[in-house]
């Protein structure tokens, strides 16, 4: 880590007037009740010296077990520890974690942990290439990561192939380790990891945030930016963030480094409404706002290809156009169609809204794009929870398979279609409510430029349309992921 710069009194005065508004001496008082208790114990957890390393070492052990099982375990995906734990258990839990604890998986991710260990011990500690930080490249990489991740999972059928699962684990681990060998901090997680890109986007809808209280920073005349640079042997933010000016969860892994490094106890974990940061963000750029609409398209794609009627549709497509008999082409065309349709409808709604409010369409797309993220996330959670509920019976068999005691038959378990559908549709409705609330909040933040409720009608109708598509998809019978 670099050393913090020397003091500059003039800069501190400007900071007091510009960054935090009127100066208040002392910290914001803690909230009472259960929220206050959550924040108190959450902060204690993040500041604990064993966090996140206990979790990281456990996950490294888990990764070793996954890799062993992927390459040397049973070939049947329903008995293989790697496929069952990765696709049936971990993937749905990861989706839930986005909402409940943000991007915390990145704090305990075994690949990131290995990268961090290598980086601290023997890494060259070079700065990440500026190329990684170019706006256009970040957007393109994120788009490719999201599309490719969804596409590759379907085309390779990674969820039913231990070898492909093992290959994905290996390639991600090597990417992280090589990045740790060469670059500073968590360059892999911040700039290169496709899963991290996806996690960062969904973490923006989280109900928790780690932020600094600027009043404490100012009252203590903090000039060291220890949360960014680190202090003594305590590392700073691995994602190059400064909590007192941070506006988004996208690049916060909740690793607790900043809480430990801050000498003034200014940083805490807080509960918040799930879409609050969409209203408060200053940096509204189109590619970021469009991510949530792209996520809608990807979730539609993931839902559609797991419905039972999809098999018939696929055969029909292959019979109509021989080129579509190639899975890579068919799924590629389908995902682009889903994303294109979702984005096109959003553009249309923005055009109507811009005409109603006499604003620039581009500006409105930047402001309202994020509002659809809760809907995408809750639908993603619902869809994946269904896989968890219908596949958890495979876990004992997979554990037995890991230690070489293969059961006579995999515990299939009849999918509880009714429960699955109720769960999925219920979460879509919750997502719709949060998205509608976010639209109202974003509109309200515009003050005079948004004559409610008429003006928000295009976006409201679009959210309802997306939700209706999700519900229609989820009303169809689904195939389970591994079995």
């Amino acid at each position: 880590m670099s050393d913090p710069p020397k003091d500059n009194p003039q800069s501190i005065i400007l900071l007091e007037t510009l960054a935090a508004g009127p100066l208040k001496v002392g910290a914001t008082p803690p909230r009472p009740g259960l929220m206050g208790a959550f924040e108190h114990y959450g902060k204690r957890l993040l500041k604990h010296p064993f966090f996140p390393w206990v979790g990281r070492w456990m996950m490294i052990g888990f990764l070793i077990a996954l890799a062993y099982s992927a390459f040397f375990g049973p070939r049947d995906p329903r008995l293989n520890f790697a496929t069952v734990m990765s696709w049936v258990v971990w993937w749905p839990l990861l989706a839930i974690s986005y909402l409940v604890v943000g991007r915390v998986w990145c704090a305990v991710c075994p690949m990131g942990a290995l990268s961090d260990i290598v980086h601290r011990r023997i890494g060259l500690n070079l700065k990440a290439p500026e190329l990684f930080k170019k706006r256009w490249l970040v957007a393109v990489l994120l788009g490719i990561a999201i599309l490719y991740q969804a596409w590759i999972e379907e085309v390779t059928r990674a969820s039913v192939s231990p070898l492909i699962t093992g290959f994905i684990l290996w390639s991600f681990t090597i990417g992280a380790v090589v990045s740790g060998l060469v670059f500073e901090r968590w360059t892999w997680c911040r700039h290169l990891c496709p899963l991290g890109a996806w996690s960062g986007v969904f973490a923006m809808s989280s109900v928790v945030e780690v932020r600094a209280d600027p009043n404490v920073c100012l009252a203590n005349h903090c000039k060291g930016i220890y949360c960014y640079f680190g202090r003594d042997d305590l590392p700073g933010c691995p994602f190059h963030q400064v909590p007192k000016i941070m506006e988004t969860n996208r690049y916060c892994s909740t690793c607790g480094n900043c809480l430990k490094a801050c000498p003034n106890d200014a940083i805490s974990i807080r509960l918040r409404p799930p879409s609050r940061e969409f209203v408060t963000q200053k940096k509204e750029v189109l590619e970021n706002a469009l991510i949530s609409v792209v996520a809608i398209g990807v979730v539609i794609f993931q839902g559609l290809v797991m419905t039972e009627p999809w098999a018939t549709l696929r055969e029909y497509a292959a019979a109509s156009l021989p080129l579509l008999s190639n899975d890579a082409v068919l799924y590629g065309a389908l995902i682009l169609a889903c994303v294109g349709l979702a984005t096109g409808l959003f553009f249309l709604a923005s055009q109507i809204y811009a005409r109603l409010t006499h604003q620039s369409c581009h500006a409105e797309m930047c402001r309202f794009g994020f509002a659809f993220l809760p809907l995408a996330l809750l639908t993603h959670i619902g869809h994946n929870l269904g896989h968890l509920f219908n596949g958890y019976a495979l876990v004992p068999g997979a554990l037995a398979g890991l230690v070489g005691k293969l059961p006579q038959a995999a515990a299939e378990g009849a999918p509880n279609l009714w429960l699955w559908q109720v769960l999925e549709i219920g979460l879509v409705v919750v997502g719709l409510i949060i998205s509608v609330w976010a639209i109202r909040r974003i509109c309200g933040a515009a003050k005079g430029n948004c004559p409610r409720p008429l003006a928000t009608a295009p976006y409201m109708m679009l959210a309802i349309l997306y939700a209706a598509v999700f519900i229609a998809l989820f009303a169809l019978p689904m195939v389970t992921r591994v079995s």
Partner: protein, 140 residues
């Protein structure tokens, strides 16, 4: 921030990094050529022994796809090949780019317009002086 210079340690680390990166490529090529990717035991038909004679065919055609749907640019093999190629090219490319093009160890070019201290390009406010960096941050 360390200043980068070629010496025995850095040569060893870069060589290890390249070897590890190459291992992804080698594994990808192995999967590509072996014809195994994604097919698992369930497609090849020899799964019955492992499954204790239980018949699990038929129900999985929806998930597994048509058997004829394989080939270098299609189905499992082609996708794995693409993963391998993209991962390999991307990792080697970024490594070499960082080592030779970016002149590592030099300070970052982005700086606050007010206090001229180095800032990250995605920050919206300078943490040192509080100056708004929104215009700077959103500049392409």
């Amino acid at each position: 921030m360390k200043t980068f210079q070629w010496n025995a340690r850095t040569i060893v680390i870069v060589a290890v990094a390249l070897l590890l990166t190459a291992s992804v490529g080698v594994m990808g090529i192995w999967l590509l050529l072996s014809g195994q990717p994604g097919t698992g035991m369930m497609e090849s038909g020899d799964h019955t022994e492992m499954m204790g004679g239980m018949d699990i065919s038929g129900d999985h055609t929806t998930m597994m796809g048509a058997p004829a749907n394989r080939g270098l640019l299609g189905g499992y093999t082609g996708a794995v090949g693409l993963v391998m190629i993209l991962a390999f090219v991307g990792m080697v490319g970024s490594l070499l780019y960082a080592l030779f093009r970016e002149k590592p160890g030099q300070p970052q070019p982005a700086a606050c317009w007010n206090c001229e201290r180095p800032v990250e390009t995605d920050w919206t406010t300078c943490p040192y002086c509080g100056a708004a960096l929104v215009a700077q941050a959103t500049r392409p």
